[in-house]
Symmetry: D2
Subunit: 291 residues, 4 copies
């Protein structure tokens, strides 16, 4: 990680492909030869699966390929040849994020405090909820708030409206900030690896509803929180970040719920930041998270 800011535009390439000798040199040469100044480079080789993963960020100030043609050139020259899956991002295009909430405010406040302080290179134009409770929070931060109450009968219909709204706001990715409603497979399909959830347990322990109750019942000595990409398998998507806090026999269920809140907000915000910074690759239902 590095938080130093500069004013020029950077390109960020996130890629993976079958591993082969020299693949790293191919990519770095492409950047160096064409006048790019590499700022950060991280790579990882999964020896078992013979897969190569890379994140490289470079300054475009003297790069001779026009910004809007880099993707095309790179794909033509190397992408197909090396069977790469890759995404190219530019620092002058802020990703646009929607937040989904229900009634609990701790994750929402943590995100908005960072956003308002300018810590994240992101736009948050809209908050969506199945309850009206947190509208006052949205108003405090001058962000649009839309309520879509959801029940068994209207779920498909309401999600369709939500998708329409997300499109209207030109949303790139979604953060479920303690959104207490299972999202449908159809909805998820519209944002593959682009919906980040926070689950209040150290997955895969205590999947599903009421994990703190289950943790209390089991008598664990640590409680956890897990941020992950949402897939059609409930609480089983690629894990981005996890952390835990120590508890004891003295803690009631209410204590676990309360102590867990600090975990949830920090673990979720760490994951969102990694996503915004284009540092996460998904592969085989796991994540590669670069520093």
């Amino acid at each position: 990680m590095s938080k130093q800011k500069n004013n020029s535009t950077n390109a960020i390439l996130l890629m993976h492909c079958p591993d082969q000798p020299g693949i790293l040199a191919v990519v770095t040469d492409f950047i160096n030869v064409n006048g790019g100044n590499i700022l950060y480079l991280d790579q990882y080789v999964d020896r078992e699966n013979h897969a190569f993963f890379m994140r490289v960020e470079w300054d475009l100030t003297n790069f001779i390929i026009p910004q809007n043609k880099i993707e095309d050139y790179f794909n033509t020259l190397y992408g197909q040849k090396y069977d790469m899956s890759f995404n190219l991002y530019f620092s002058d295009r802020k990703p646009r994020m929607a937040i989904f909430v229900s009634k609990m405010s701790h994750c929402l406040y943590d995100i908005l405090a960072r956003y308002t302080a300018g810590e994240w290179n992101v736009e948050i134009p809209v908050i969506i909820s199945n309850h009206p409770d947190l509208e006052s929070v949205a108003k405090r931060f001058d962000i649009d708030y839309h309520v879509f109450p959801i029940n068994k009968d209207n779920k498909a219909e309401q999600e369709a409206k939500e998708l329409e709204l997300l499109e209207k706001y030109d949303i790139d990715f979604i953060v479920l900030a303690r959104y207490m409603q299972v999202v449908s497979s159809d909805f998820i399909m519209h944002y593959p690896d682009k919906i980040i959830n926070i689950h209040h347990s150290f997955l895969p322990a205590f999947m599903g509803a009421k994990p703190y109750h289950a943790a209390f019942e089991r008598g664990v000595k640590l409680i956890g929180a897990t941020s992950h990409y949402v897939t059609t398998d409930l609480d089983a998507g690629p894990i981005i970040e996890q952390d835990i806090v120590r508890i004891s026999h003295k803690d009631s269920i209410a204590d676990l719920v309360y102590k867990g809140q600090d975990l949830e907000k920090i673990v979720l915000s760490r994951a969102v930041e990694k996503h915004i910074d284009r540092k996460i690759l998904t592969y085989r239902n796991k994540t590669v998270v670069f520093n």
Copy 2:
């Protein structure tokens, strides 16, 4: 800790005295015999210094001594006899807290998010700063914001005005939420063990200014944050809470500053909560912090 709430009034006794056999029984008998229902009891004996520490919280619903006479009775019957230092608090009187800030908002937001969500049994009527920068945050949460710019020449005068204002707001204790200004001894004398600071290092390492720069220079592998009561000795007051986060050679000073923010806000809020919950005793420049 326990977050279950009840509607009746509780009394909380925080005390310490020279240790002697039976002291615990004396206090619990006083409560039991007079109809009090003990909810929480924590005690600790410092064997080396022969000192006894206790926190006991009881439900006053059936307590036969009137609330406004408990302190007098207890002092007369036991306080003097056993040479106790004690404080008695009641849950129906919320402590009143002032926040001092400068330009950084992360600790302030963390506190206000908890406050607004009703997590803490506290009133926060005023925010004081030496800079106008965070007035917009205060406005978002409808809390009065007063600016007292401070320099060498006007410090005594400005602090006098601050003290006047604190009195006007009937403030019980003060939280320095990354307030980047040393508070004078005179000011501190008005709020002994009632000013909580957050220092951005694991004290006693890196006392004073620019601890992240010093940590970077030294090449540490962990950075920390420390909340403590402010005494006239800079960064040397009784420590309430500390925590750390792992860093690496990859982290720049800017990264340390950024990573440290999550630590600072959590460590400060934990300390403030313990103070609000009347769980901290100070003794010989250290704290006894009950769970």
Copy 3:
């Protein structure tokens, strides 16, 4: 915890009973009035289940009830009256512990290093294994080593021999230090809440065989270890201690196994120490672990 040693004999009472006002005073009075000097006292009230838990340790130097009659007196005077479950221990009787191992030595070494350095008030007269591999380790520390190879056909017979041997060695409790063999219900019945196991995951995640493989497959970002009392429900007994270590996408299964070893040994040794120090009460398939 406190590691100061004294030469006089201490009594340790571990008890729980239905909660009622004054129960704490009853027990402390019994000790004080009869000349006992209370060294440590910890108590905990489970408000939800109205259960009172207590550990009290006192110096017997001036205690007027003879050591061998304390249990009888206490039971007659209070035990039955208050419906107590209690155990009384004396510091001059070291508990006797057997270690069960298979092929991995890290937990065994950690235990024996502490034992040899005199850190624990315990006797370890025997190590039992289903494999001959670690006999050389046992020899290094001059501890008897017995091998009982176990398969489906001979299990009942071999366990009977093990029980006989344990009786011969006058064993109080058993530590399964990465013993890779499920112990039968019949065997467990002989040592209820007296067999401590280390499981190489943060239970209840990854119960059963090959938890590191399962953790790798799931892509978790933390791995854990859990020490617990063995019950007839596999990996589902009362949890004593847990801890975790951070991993990343870079770690292979072999890395997880290796990184987990440090966790396993520390988590197991912490649990064993708490057991030796008589600081654990079990209740409703959970533990109360005093500091």
Copy 4:
């Protein structure tokens, strides 16, 4: 980290040099073109100081340059040209390590348990001490043990004998496993960045003698341990690894000493392992520690 073993010989290059575009490609090309199979590659650029750091490990099976000429070739072709500081190691040459101890055995046992279990690619032919106390431990593991009692008057003389002995045993690096004796500058000069110490505090807090006493006095809520390379500045050499454990007001000095032991042994062993695996570069009194 990766613990998979193979039987072929690997080369490990640890290097740093002034940063310039293409430096990574130059090194990887050298390996690829000559038939080396890169197994691990880590690089880091210190943007502020324009310095490039790299660790690359490759399989020599099909490498066309003979093992004993690689260093010469690499230096001639690139080392001088790019102003590199580099070291080249081979997996078929185990580093040889000496352990220095005094009276406490916990770090020594932890190291020897790992060594005996074959976890580390190292030879430990000798243990040196200023006290006879731990000779029995050395004997248990069949390692030579030499005692050099040291006082003000004989220090230079005794250290000279130690150096002679270290030469005789062909020692590459030294681990001070709670060796309670300051090593002279002259001695250190013989093993620059090759003496690893464990200090029982989170440096730079509590440098020098009796850090647990100082930590207790200050009332900290965390205690730490720090492994570092020894330089002529006491407790001020490049930090390799640090960790902490939580304590409370209940802990006596003896408790801190005891709780700190687990920290010390784990933190020291992690540092030693990184050193053995050739994963540490030192630079400007700091370390770059690759994963």
